[in-house]
């Protein structure tokens, strides 16, 4: 077994840099450090890169550079890490746990041996962290669902789940941005826009950000949606 990080050439235009196999804060710290390094000193020919749970993919222009050159640049970067704030920003997401928005809350409570109110408090008080985006635009996978309320994916997906639904599966939580089917448990709905109209900064959070949920009631939810004007 060779050591970490490991480098894999992907097709003619990408390099996958992997730091290990165990998802957690240690892996995130390494991924985020390289993410910050690439932002500060982007190697020539690199078009974009994608931080994920245990690795990071660098996509490049095969006419401008190659796997070996990009790998060399990254090795130098990792040998001399830049000092950056890689702790991420604090973000607050408002959530309404009203039964109409939380069709799976009772099932989660049953599985956890709790009341729905206890599930809500457990979720509301937890600290989440954005580990990766994926699936669809703005789908930010957050870790941090407390052990006590973790449930597996449901055996069948529910169709047409509205955008803004707060869904959980295992240790992960996310706020949907599109109306889509999901097999995750739906426990609330958020009026907080994740896809924003701000062209410079169109996504509410970046990988590495810390997220907390703030509970709101149905009236507040409706008022927020009316303010948004796009709901």
């Amino acid at each position: 077994m060779s050591g970490w990080p490991r480098y894999r050439a992907v097709a003619d235009h990408a390099l996958l840099v992997s730091f290990g196999t165990e998802i957690g804060d240690e892996m995130s710290a390494q991924v985020l450090a390289l993410d910050a390094g690439l932002a500060q000193f982007t190697p020539a020919g690199v078009i974009e890169w994608v931080p994920a749970l245990v690795n990071l993919l660098v996509d490049f222009d095969p006419e401008a550079t190659d796997h070996r050159t990009v790998q060399g640049e990254i090795e130098r970067m990792l040998a001399n890490p830049v000092r950056t704030d890689q702790q991420g920003q604090e973000r607050i997401i408002e959530i309404c746990y009203d039964a109409a928005f939380a069709p799976d809350l009772e099932a989660v409570a049953d599985a956890a041996g709790m009341t729905t109110e206890e599930v809500i408090r457990t979720h509301r008080d937890a600290a989440f962290r954005v580990r990766m985006y994926g699936f669809a635009p703005g789908y930010a996978y957050m870790s941090g669902v407390p052990e006590a309320i973790r449930v597996p994916r449901k055996s069948a997906a529910l169709r047409d789940v509205p955008a803004g639904s707060v869904i959980i599966a295992g240790p992960q939580c996310l706020v949907t941005t599109l109306t889509m089917p999901t097999g995750w448990s739906i426990i609330g709905r958020s009026p907080t826009p994740i896809l924003r109209s701000d062209a410079e900064d169109p996504f509410l959070f970046d990988v590495g950000d810390h997220v907390r949920f703030a509970r709101i009631d149905r009236d507040t939810y409706e008022a927020r949606m009316a303010e948004r004007g796009d709901g």
Binding site: A9, A11, Y133, G134
Partner: protein
Amino acid sequence: MADAVLTVTYTGPQVSFQDGGRRGWMRFGVPASGPMDRFAHAAANRALGRPAGATAIEVSMGGLSLTCESGTVSFAVCGGGFTLDHAGARVEGWVVRTLSAGESLTIRAGKWGSWCYLAFAGEVDAQAWLGATATHAISQFGGGALTTGQRITLRNAEATPSREGPLPAPPLPDPNARQPVVPGPQEDRFAPGALDTLTREPFTVTPAYDRMGMRLDGPELPLADALSIPSEPTLRGSIQVAGDGVATVLLADHQTTGGYPKIATLVSTATDALVQARAGDKVRFVAVSPDEAIMRARRDLATRQAWLDEIAVPRGSLEDRLMRANLISGVHHGGDE
């Protein structure tokens, strides 16, 4: 130059506005989208002298019919072997013509190919998202899918008679050629022999084919164990294999991350040929090294660029250019008339 206005009188499914695609947003879950066949899209634009990444209409096998309400605009159709009915004439694609008020244009699937591109000598007025009009099909962000009755405005539309006519034969790969793939990044998660199977046996394109991906039917590509990998970034051209051993090639609107192991990844320029396959067509793969993959991509891109440069020159002005060249070199002596 004025505006030209078209009305969509019929559209098949999966017909959408596409510019060259949006780059730099994969970290937020946003793939590049853009044309399924990037070469054919660039060809349609360059044949009109437009930037290669300008907004065009991606037409599926479902076809498209338009009527020109006002104005005059030249257009190009490139990609696959589609057929056009325009102003009483039936012609093959890879052509430039001019559409005038009162005329209709119908594009329909022809002998081969799944996608073609309709570009205009004018700016297509389409909604942009994150700086690009490319349509991301599942969200409909960007220019969006076309709908029957929709009006399309072309800004600064012009007729370019000097560009009209069939284009010279494009440098397309042999349709029976094997598609080059680089093994991995998770080929070691498969049972022994799976990679050999992928590169030895033919696979068949299934009807489960859209802008997100193409499911293939063929011999099973068994995984070595049932464990999933931690979700990691995916790309256009990733060949991922679900627990059932069935391969799917991810395409223009791919998920940006996923937990299925990828047995191999297509060379970037090879995806343009692959997407033109239809359900029932056979696809074969050949494994190449990363260095070979880069060499092939560079060679393909250079060949394409030379051809795109050639078609970007209005043919009608060739005489003028020769005249100019002769004057500069002093060969032109006929100054008496």
